[in-house]
Amino acid sequence: MLKIKSYVKVNSIAEAYELNQKKTACVLGGMVWLKMGNRNISTAIDLSGLGLEGIQETDDEFVIGCMTSLRALETDKRLNEYTQGAIRESVRHIVGVQFRNCATVGGSIWGRYGFSDVLTMFLGMDTWVELYNAGKIPLTEFVNRKKDNDILVNIIVRKQPLRVCYMSQRNTKTDFPVLTLCASLIGNEARTVIGARSARAVIAEDPEHILENFAEKSEEEQKEAIRKFAGYAAEHVSTSGNMRGSKEYRTLLVEVLTRRAWETVGGMKDEY
């Protein structure tokens, strides 16, 4: 059971940071995950009074406050236009509307959970996290950092030219995913992110440059590159088994979803 000794709705991020230096303190996100654990929290730090819910769009970026709900991501027209609906696809299978009204993007990203659809999706874009103390760092770096006592303030998506497709496999609707995958062309860079392996999402590296200059390839060349890369990813992205799926099954999914997602990015199919 979760036990909370005191609750503070902070007036500034500085105050939150100061309170969070104590090991037994904890910043609250949407609490949908936190409340399931057994934890004794000395001070629960609530950021919900700081206006950090919401998505601001500028010419160059989207600035998403850490307290923005997953439902707000799902229904935001601008973000979904930019991602060709991939953001909506990445969150709409997560439990239900009520859950997504509670769960926050900050909680999802800060937690760096192995099962995270949200983390997989945001790794597939030019995403940065803005931390109170450490400043702005790329999400690709943040994802491998050890959890510390910093405060995640905003998630920033730089508006590079983007073609992106998000896919997940679930044993049953609304359950945790068995595998998540985000394929994207960020400017010229081809990126494939694979999560719920069952470990934390990783970028499937392409040292043989199979997907290099993907956009310039003919359809035949693209198909061949996709086939080759899907095989390469299945061979090199490490997977493991848990109660939702075996290692072998996940590896099969890596190949299939990589192929399908890249076919969508390549415009060979346009459905989820």
Binding site: L2, K3, I4, K5, S6, Y7, K9, L28, G30, M31, V32, K35, M36, I41, A44, D46, S48, R71, R92, V95, G96, V97, Q98, F99, N101, C102, K173, T174
Partner: protein, 155 residues
């Protein structure tokens, strides 16, 4: 700690424990429609509206409702009764335990979506589990209710 909030339209002020969950708080205040059907934030039985939005009261600290408006099924008797008839007529009522949470989310959906189709209904209500049925009767009752509302508006 002290919180001020609205429960079903009435402003209240209460002393609470900082770790108390909203579901337990609401049941303590006599809102027995709010139920706990799982321990994993998955079943939707504890759904209430917070500032018009459906949320899981099992995952919300009571401390967080300070300054907010909470509505439970007890505060929506008229709407619930009207739709409840459609549910009953389709035989969607089995044990009835999931019903209050389900009706709360249906009401939230009807306020948020304009004329939802079957796919949209299924997607919006995916987080409401019923262990007796296969959701067919529930979906049928919503479609019939929508139709009834439409004819009512037209006349």
């Amino acid at each position: 700690m002290n919180i001020k909030f609205w429960l079903n339209g009435i402003q209240r002020q209460e002393e609470i424990d900082p770790g108390m969950l909203l579901i337990d708080f609401l049941r303590e205040k006599g809102c027995y429609s709010v139920k706990r059907g799982c321990e994993t934030a998955n079943c939707g039985l504890c759904t209430v509206l917070m500032d018009e939005k459906p949320i899981l009261s099992c995952s919300m600290l009571a401390a967080r409702i300070d300054g907010k408006k909470i509505v439970t099924l007890e505060g929506l008797q008229k709407e619930a009764e009207e739709f409840g008839d459609f549910l009953a007529n389709e035989g969607a009522e089995q044990c009835g335990f999931c019903n209050p949470g389900f009706i709360m989310n249906v009401i939230a959906m009807l306020r948020e979506l304009e004329e939802p189709d079957e796919e949209q209904i299924k997607e919006y209500l995916a987080g409401n589990l019923c262990r007796c049925s296969g959701f067919v009767s529930q979906t049928a009752s919503i479609l019939k209710y929508l139709n009834y509302k439409k004819t009512q508006e037209e006349s």
